[in-house]
Each structure stands twice: as C-alpha cells, then as structure tokens.
Point group: C2
Chain length 242, copies 2
Amino acid sequence: MKTDCEHCPLRQIGLFEEMTKDEVHYMSRFKTGEFVAQPGTEILAEGASSSQLYTALDGMGLRYKTLEDGSRQVVGFVLPGDFIGLQSGVMGEMRHSVEATTRMTMCVFNRSELWELFKNQPRRAFDLTHVAATEEFLLGEMLAAVGQMDGLAKIAWVLNRFFTRLTALGLNENDQVPLPYRQQDVADAMGLSLVHTNKTLAKLRAKGVVTWSDDTLTVHRPDELAQLGFSTGVKPAQRPLI
Amino acid sequence: MKTDCEHCPLRQIGLFEEMTKDEVHYMSRFKTGEFVAQPGTEILAEGASSSQLYTALDGMGLRYKTLEDGSRQVVGFVLPGDFIGLQSGVMGEMRHSVEATTRMTMCVFNRSELWELFKNQPRRAFDLTHVAATEEFLLGEMLAAVGQMDGLAKIAWVLNRFFTRLTALGLNENDQVPLPYRQQDVADAMGLSLVHTNKTLAKLRAKGVVTWSDDTLTVHRPDELAQLGFSTGVKPAQRPLI
DNA sequence: CCTCGCTATGTCGTAGTTTAATGCAGAGAA
DNA sequence: TTCTCTGCATTAAACTACGACATAGCGAGG
C-alpha cells in the first residue's frame, strides 16, 4: 500500500521536485500533513471550486453526478494514485462529486501550485495533460460499455476493469483484489437497477467466474471474465471496396 | 459560418500569435492551407497516432468508438470550433475515431507545435487544458444521460444539447439549427435502437416540441424540450440531519 | 431486543429490442 | 424520360431484457 507521499503521482511528475516533504504537505488546514477522509465522506462536491487539489495515497472512493430526478450516475472510481479535483484546478469548478468509500489518505496541495507548474516546468505540465487525457479515455470506455452492452457484459466489464487496474497497482494477491464498494455503486455506474445487478452477479457466481464478498473480489477465471465484458477500441470493419 | 482561420480556436488561445496566416496553415500535405474532408470520410481512426491536429472551422462530424461485437458508440459530436486529435497530440494515440458527416474544412497544424506552446506560452497551455477539461465534462454529462434517463429523456436531452451548443455558436436562425446527422447516429449516441429512436422522435413531433428533417432541427418549444431532457449537475439532496 | 443497511431471490409488467415490411427521394444507366 | 438500386425514414408485430415491487435473511450497532 502506498502511504508515503514519496509515491504521490504529483511528486512523480515533478511538481514537488524542489520541495521538502514538509513543504509538500499542505499544513495550514489539517494538522497532519495528509488529509484523511472517513468512509462515506464527501471530499469534493459538484459545483464546488476548491482551492485544494488532492491525490489519493491510500483507500478508494467514487466520482458521481446527481441528476435532477435524484438518480445518481457514478462516473468513475478513485483508486490509489488518482487525482481528485483536477477539474476544479483547471476549470474552476468540479463537474462531479467525490466520495470516499473507505478511509482515504490524501496528499493535499494548493491550486496555485498547478499554475506554478505550467510556468516553471513545461515538461511536467505536458505530462500532466496525460492524466487528464487518461481520465477522458476511461470515461469514453465507460460510456461505450453503458451504452452498448447488456447487463451481463456490463457487470463483467466493470469487474474486469477493477481487476485489471488494481492488479496494475500491485494490489492483487492470489487473484483477489480489494473492492470496497456496494452493489448499488456498481449499479449506478453501469446504469442498471440494484436488483438486476445483484441477479447478474449471482449469475457470474453460479458460473464460477467470480465471487465478491467482504469488500474482496476473487476472480476464478480471468480470461472468461474478460471475454464476457468484451473490450472496446476495435478498428471498425473494413467497408467493402466494391 | 466560420470559414476563416482567424476564428480558429487555437489562434484564439494564442498558438499562432506570432505566425502569419500562411504559416498557420499546414501547407506541405494539402494544396490549400485548409484540409477539406468530404461527408462520410474518416478523419482520424481510433488507435492512429497522427502527427497533425485539427480544429474544425466549418461543417460537422462525430466521434465514435467501435466495440468487439461490431456495435458503435458515438462519444461526441464535432461542431465548428472543436478540436480534433488533441488526444493523439497528448497521448500519442487516438481513443476514438472521427468522421465527417458534412463537408468539413479544418485548420491543420503539427503536433510538435503543441509542445512549443507548452514551452513558450504557459498561460496559453493552461488555457488549452480547459479544452480538454470541457471535453471530459461533456462526456460525463453524456454518461449520466445514457446511464440514467429513459428513451424520451435521452432524445430530448441530446436534441436540447445540440440546440444549446449550436445556438451558442450563432447558428440559430428562428429556432432552427443545422443538424446533419442520421437517426442512427443519435441512436448510437444515446444507446437506443434505431427503431425506438425513430418512435421517440415521432412522439416529440406529435407533442409539437420539435421537428427534424432535411438536416435541420426546428425547436417549437425550447422550454418543454429542456424540461423533458432534464439536466444533470444538481447538488445531491441534503441528507436528513436526523 | 429492535432497527437499519445491505444482500438475495421470485413474480410480473413494461420499455425497449428485433425483425420485417413499406415508402420515398436521389443517383446512375439505358 | 423511365427503370433500378441504394440509403434512410417510418410503422407494425413479436419477443425479451430489464425495472418495479415485494419479501426474506443477515450482520452491525444502539
């Protein structure tokens, strides 16, 4: 688990290259150098224009939008290493809310430092746009899944994405990854009802593909899971030349 | 209609501040300084890493992803002033394809100029990230619509978005805006079948809210349209304090 | 103990898909 | 001109995946 700000991605891209660790931590608001959010806490609200940005060091959360009719669309999952509040740093206002689903420790820094980065370290600023582009990429993939797949494929797809990302983060132990979400969260992410999500999960369980309980996802057949939640990004079929 | 590169948004944000118009246009590949795409042409393919970026000056198109099973998810509509290929400029590879649905004229420039921008004009580079953030915002809104709304709301939402954006571009004449897309495009954007999209459009027509024919959308009751495609971005209801 | 939040499962109605058939305008050929 | 072909809009009928509702179980916390 990454609990040291040494691993903070903003440090990796050089925002803090010339700073000591004490300077890195945003000290004025929270007594510890790190901001700790408790489960169920709203870290940033849609429409808020926070003067702080965060990077998740440990723990997980989710990004969501709320619609006029009260329904909720989960637009992403926050894993260790992810940015929080980049939109508010760039656009001045968050376009979605962020909530912690576990205890989260975050590295906090001022929005003004982002502008310093652009002024003083163009290479790092350029790198930073990769982060924004990656976020957009994940959103596009999710849109394709929500728009085109049926229930079983949606659930398999999102579980497979969790499994893949968490494995890449080194959080995979014997095909088990932490998954501290409720079925309602997955349902709101994939545009399904809670009941249907539950039944689809039961189907996957019956097939022996995955089990998910106690905030832990166990993938018994990774290849079958990937097969069910078939991927996007395929070149369109060639149009017949005649 | 914007047909002059003076209006190119990249010029507006200063990429070409010190350049003459002739320099602005990318001359080596196309005889005219502007790249012209014919209807139905694929401008950039998913997975491609083009060395050129474009901004749409005139005409419209759409962004889409293709899934393994052959289905298509439209992830956005390209209107005059939009960027094309920003992702390939930043990440090196396009995450979706772009196709022209009308004759499109575009301003072409080299990817390397993007890096020059970051090196020499940090303020402009910072502005540029607004563009990326805006694209992400639109994607998030669309995800919420596709994931949470029912058929009627989806169609009303996307028509209302067209109407709003095109009005902002000054393309609204007597509540009529150009809409050079097929019903299939709208269906693929909102995750509905062509048939159901058609029926829903018929419903809106019967209600006297909109008519859409000959690539022209006429909105008879803008407020009712906005009402039907209710918006996102609402603050979540306060949790009861008790 | 009871309540609350979450998971689990069955029944039923409907919104949406699939398939198919019709119409209609534009383009190309004779 | 007239015929045909092609792409798109339209409408109907049959089928189904999914949502709504109801109900039960289970563990945590007051």
